[in-house]
């Protein structure tokens, strides 16, 4: 210890400690308030968010918005939010929530109650199911933003070639798949691709199968599996799609993107997916450009009419948001921005549906 003098050693140590402590918890800076907005990257060719954020900043010069992207998989976003919000100092202010998380996060006390900030008819223009999923215990915890519904995409060119109309039931669809495959004689052509990987998307597909078979997971009175036989039949049917060969064996490893690519490369006749895919099918260089249309999901022959699961994202504010003034200002402005700009985030460019999509509230 004779090389470094005693005093300088102490000074070095003290400096290191101070730097470590001082580095945490930067104080509030004066000037424009910076808000952090966590969102999931919107899949597709053009991400409209940076543009929208800049427009918002231009309209509100005292607020700067820092947009931070999350992975596009819903499960990954949920885990990110849970880890950060449970720690009570999330480091972000506004977040894009999958519609199913709002009651969960509200119950855990992680969201700011927005009810008092809303004008009486503020939520009237939104879909009822979207508003319902943003409400918990009679109070509004998030603002509906994106709206999603499960759709049946199909190769309009192939169906027209064999004189077929989009199927109303799954049994009809299976029959159509057999006919088209027999005619096309293409071993790489799959029938119906959907999401069967063990993740959130599988739950959506199974729920849609339940609803198409006329049953549900939980009744309004809280009874779980009111009709187990029908539920079991729905599951058997889904499994049967794979064993029969209507859906490929890799369905159990397929998520939205894998199935979307298979259909987009021309290797499938039917696809169950969300509206975002349409833009990608109609994009430059797409193998199925001009050949794709969509319709409502089919039902079962003796079950209920087909129903697509509603999905989508809401905007919520973290309850550990710093100053109330900042939060209020943000909310009011953002929400106006969301209303004015909702059309730009719609993913379908030129929908060519042969039947009007029936969006039943099934949240």
């Amino acid at each position: 210890m004779s090389v470094i003098g005693r005093r300088s050693a102490w000074a070095l140590g003290l400096m290191a400690w101070l730097l470590a402590l001082g580095g945490c918890g930067a104080g509030h800076e004066r000037g424009p308030v910076t808000l952090v907005f966590k969102y999931a990257r919107i899949l597709g060719n053009a991400d409209p968010l940076p543009e929208l954020l800049r427009a918002f900043e231009a309209a509100h010069p005292d607020v700067r918005v820092k947009g931070e992207a999350l992975p596009w998989a819903s499960d990954d976003q949920h885990q990110f939010y849970v880890i950060n919000l449970e720690g009570r100092s999330p480091g972000f202010d506004v977040m894009m929530l999958d519609c199913i998380w709002v009651p969960e996060f509200a119950r855990a006390g992680w969201l700011l109650d927005l009810t008092s900030q809303l004008a009486p008819d503020e939520l009237a223009p939104y879909f009822p199911s979207a508003v319902a999923s943003a409400t918990y215990n009679g109070r509004v915890w998030a603002l509906p933003w994106n709206f999603n519904v499960g759709l049946l995409y199909y190769r309009a060119d192939l169906l027209t070639k064999y004189g077929l109309r989009p199927p109303e039931t799954f049994e009809e669809m299976i029959d159509q798949v057999r006919r088209i495959r027999a005619g096309e004689r293409d071993p790489a052509l799959n029938g119906y691709v959907w999401q069967g990987k063990q993740y959130e998307g599988l739950v959506v597909n199974v729920l849609e199968a339940f609803w198409a078979n006329g049953t549900t997971v939980m009744e309004d009175d809280g009874k779980v599996f009111p009709d187990p036989a029908r539920a079991a039949d729905a599951l058997k049917f889904l499994r049967g799609l794979i064993t029969m060969g209507v859906s490929p064996a890799w369905t159990t490893a397929a998520d939205e993107e894998l199935s979307r690519r298979a259909f987009g490369d021309g290797h499938a006749i039917f696809l169950r997916n969300w509206p975002y895919a349409m833009d990608l099918f109609e994009g430059q260089g797409s193998a199925v450009r001009g050949k794709v249309a969509f319709a409502s999901l089919p039902g079962r022959a003796r079950g209920a009419p087909g129903v697509g699961s509603t999905g989508g994202a809401h905007l919520g504010v973290s309850s550990s948001c710093g100053s109330a003034r900042r939060c209020r200002g943000w909310r009011r402005s953002r929400w106006r921005g969301a209303r004015g700009r909702s059309s730009r985030t719609t993913c379908c460019s030129r929908p060519r549906s042969s039947r009007s999509s029936r969006r039943r509230s099934s949240a």
Partner: protein
């Protein structure tokens, strides 16, 4: 000791103190906190927070999902380590036998190990892609449903892990091989030992101690493996690749049962500590000469 030595000692303690405090805060404190959490029922979204004693552990003892995860962890660990050792030793021997180009071989081998685990997992995710992956395209009509078939998923994950971690064993063995003096082999040759005899009677015993060390490291890593199966299958088709770590992660962050998830984590911790202790005992008693 002299005053000067005492002063030097004090200075040393002061310099070490920040590290000790940091390590303590980052490892010891969370460790104790997790054990404490495992003794409670804590579900934040339902406002459940009460002391539960050993209820979580009692539940685990009869939980079929836990035992399935334990079995899969065991299969993964044994399969992965066994393959790594065999392939690692083979690779080390092969490189050692090379006359020229050893550096190139070593660099290529280390490329796999240098890659972050998640990147390697993503790489294999694309290789295993059912329709566009290189493997299935090469197999053509005999394409295998790598990550979607419950019987194939675990071997596929093991393969991906072995590819990434085999170089570690290979490098350790290669370094040991370099240290074996050449006259040992000359003496063996003089005594009339064939290649197989040289391998089994001389090379492998001399590699023994370093192999044990490598197996220790690899076993501990395989018991705690998370990223490879999380990225590839997320727990697998019907839980076929759900190890204890994945189960703990799901319990903690998907179902938000903090107490229960902590209990699973403590079990993993105890398992890893038990295995480490067993191995270190083996190393200390010295089953083979260094």
């Amino acid at each position: 000791m002299t005053g000067r030595e005492a002063a030097a000692r004090r200075r040393a303690l002061v310099c070490v103190a920040p590290t000790v405090v940091a390590l303590g805060a980052l490892t010891v404190y969370p460790g104790i906190w997790v054990v404490w959490l495992s003794l409670q029922h804590r579900i934040p979204i339902f406002d459940v927070s009460r002391f539960a004693g050993f209820e979580n552990y009692a539940f685990l003892a009869v939980d079929p999902r836990f035992w399935s995860a334990a079995r899969i962890t065991a299969v993964f660990t044994l399969g992965s380590v066994a393959l790594e050792v065999v392939l690692g030793v083979a690779a080390a021997l092969a490189i050692h036998a090379q006359v020229r180009g050893r550096k190139v071989s070593l660099s290529l081998l280390l490329l796999a190990w240098a890659m972050p685990a998640v990147v390697g997992a993503k790489l294999f995710e694309w290789l295993y892609h059912p329709s566009a992956g290189v493997i299935n395209v090469a197999l053509g009509r005999h394409a295998i449903n790598w990550l979607g078939d419950p019987n194939v998923a675990l071997p596929a994950v093991i393969l991906a892990d072995v590819w990434r971690t085999m170089p570690f064993v290979a490098i350790l063995c290669y370094a040991r091989l370099l240290a074996i003096p050449a006259d040992v082999y000359e003496a063996a040759q003089v005594d009339g030992a064939g290649r197989l005899a040289t391998l089994t009677r001389i090379t492998l015993p001399l590699l023994g101690r370093i192999l044990l060390l490598a197996i220790l490291f690899r076993t501990l890593d395989a018991l705690r493996a998370f990223d490879i199966m999380f990225v590839l299958t997320g727990g697998g088709p019907a839980g076929a690749t759900e190890t204890l770590t994945i189960y703990a992660y799901r319990a903690l962050f998907q179902t938000l049962q903090i107490g229960f998830g902590s209990a699973v984590s403590v079990v993993v911790f105890a398992l890893v500590m038990a295995v480490a202790w067993a191995y270190l005992r083996l190393l200390r008693t010295g089953t083979v000469a260094a």
